[in-house]
């Protein structure tokens, strides 16, 4: 648990917490969704739940890129790298995500050439250094990461690099929010909007949520004070019966987004008619594919991709947790069969996954307290 005076600005934290208590109607139960996995991580890490009144419930959203990718896509990516001529590259987050027959790291242990890169441009560098091999980059991420992939593709094209391709798994945040709002078992009062996705897309794309769904949304920073202030802003709107888009993270997020990034994405990507999300099923126009003008660098057009559809292990309830219908600890596998050391689902792998965040902070804390009281 974090105590308030451990924070850098304890008086401001206290003030925000008081304001939240003052604004929250005790006869009401508030369900606020933090869309971004970075916020989920921060909320657990800072123990913000302990600061909030009981009737404010934070629901964890779908904004963790490795979590929402269905297992079949991982196996599709790995299947292309069965060819010994192929070097499989991906960010570190992907490496421990389980596929049907193990994670990329486990495939590496069995002899596949799997390498971590920290930037997609380094996959280009690897391709230049290995002209007789083919380097495939497994790209994932929301609009935060997609522009970097777009510029990487543009660079590959201008270099005329023939031994490089991208397996594109980029998804877009707005259709996911829409799918959650459409799901009948979900009742939400407002959204803590993603911070870094919004540096790219800006705040305008959220306006339909405010206008059509009558839900307030506040784009938020990642510090404890940012998140508490965003909750204050949401409660204030709810109290006044308003539903607007507000930007708490003005110091980083411009209202109009990043035009250069959006232009690069538009040049290189187009929307897929539909894409499967773990837990949320098929969502129309929710993911990006590489345009035909870049087909030469599109792994899906160059290789035979099996298009695998793999269901998650039977007892795993990743889908329900991703939708916010279940809390991580309510999954039958949580903490016994599924732990960060032996993850069964992707939500236990990434630090942004709600199961890993819950396990690392809440679960370990409870276990520690139980041990202390048992030994006392």
């Amino acid at each position: 648990m974090k105590f308030v005076d451990e924070f850098r600005e304890p008086e401001l934290i206290n003030k925000a917490a008081d304001e939240i208590r003052r604004l929250a109607d005790p006869s009401r139960h508030y369900r606020l969704m933090e869309v971004c996995g970075g916020h989920t991580h921060a909320i657990y890490r800072f123990g913000l739940k302990d600061i909030l009144p009981e009737n404010i419930e934070l629901i964890h959203g779908p904004g963790c890129p490795v979590c929402v990718l269905p297992m079949g896509r991982i196996d599709d990516g790995l299947s292309m790298a069965q060819d010994p001529n192929v070097i499989f590259t991906a960010f570190g987050d992907m490496m421990r995500v389980p596929g049907m027959n193990g994670s990329p790291l486990e495939h590496k242990a069995r002899g596949m050439d799997v390498r971590i890169v920290y930037s997609p441009t380094d996959a280009i560098k690897l391709a230049q250094a290995n002209p007789d091999r083919h380097v495939m980059f497994f790209s994932i991420g929301f609009e935060t990461t997609a522009p970097s992939t777009a510029l990487t593709l543009k660079r590959a094209k201008s270099l005329g690099l023939s031994n490089f391709s991208i397996f594109c798994n980029h998804v877009t945040i707005i259709p996911a929010i829409r799918a959650i709002l459409d799901s009948p078992d979900m009742r939400l009062d407002g959204f803590i909007g993603p911070g870094h996705v919004s540096t790219v897309i800006g705040c305008r794309p959220y306006e339909w949520i405010a206008a059509n769904e009558k839900k307030p949304i506040v784009v938020s920073g990642f510090e404890p004070l940012d998140i508490l202030q965003s909750i204050v802003m949401l409660l204030r709107q709810l109290k006044n019966g308003e539903s607007r888009v507000e930007n708490q993270y003005k110091r980083v997020v411009p209202w109009e987004g990043n035009r250069a990034a959006l232009a690069a994405m538009a040049e290189v990507f187009q929307l897929r008619p539909f894409f499967e999300w773990r837990g949320l099923g098929f969502i129309s126009q929710s993911a990006l594919r590489i345009r035909d003008t870049y087909a030469e660098w599109d792994a899906e057009q160059r290789f035979n991709v099996p298009g695998l559809r793999v269901t998650d292990p039977k007892a795993a309830q990743c889908g329900e947790v991703l939708k916010g219908v279940l809390k991580p600890a309510q999954c039958k596998l949580f903490g016994n069969e599924c732990t960060p050391e032996h993850p069964i689902g992707a939500l236990m792998v990434s630090s942004e996954g709600s199961c890993a965040a819950y396990f690392n902070y809440e679960h370990r804390k409870t276990a520690m307290l139980t041990n202390i009281s048992a030994s006392a």
């Binding site: 850098r8 920290y118 930037s119 997609p120 441009t121 991420g141 970097s148 870094h196 110091r251």
Partner: protein
């Protein structure tokens, strides 16, 4: 992977307009500035970096705060590992801040 890392532009790479040498906690690596074409940063400016690309310009104060946030989240080591890994971990060996 959603958290962005603050860094300071220490010099531009000659002949490659869109690359700059950026320093994060004493580690210097090449970072791509192609996403800031509309609002090009200058030497000495601070930027938020994500997967090897500068995403936005920020103030020095915000850079310090962002570093604090990473520290509070227990992500400092992961952030430095990412920065060190750029360029396949090879180029622009670490230099002390001058």
């Amino acid at each position: 992977m959603c958290l962005a890392i603050p860094g300071k532009i220490v010099e531009f790479i000659p002949d490659i307009r869109s690359l700059a040498l950026v320093e994060v906690a004493g580690v210097r690596r090449r970072v791509d500035l192609g996403l800031l074409d509309d609002d090009k940063p200058a030497k000495g400016d601070w930027v938020l970096i994500h997967v090897g690309f500068a995403m936005s310009k920020i103030s020095e104060q915000d850079a310090i705060e962002q570093m604090n946030t990473l520290a509070m989240l227990g992500e400092t080591e992961a952030a430095l590992q990412e920065i060190r890994g750029y360029g396949l971990g090879e180029e622009d060996s670490e230099q002390p801040a001058s």
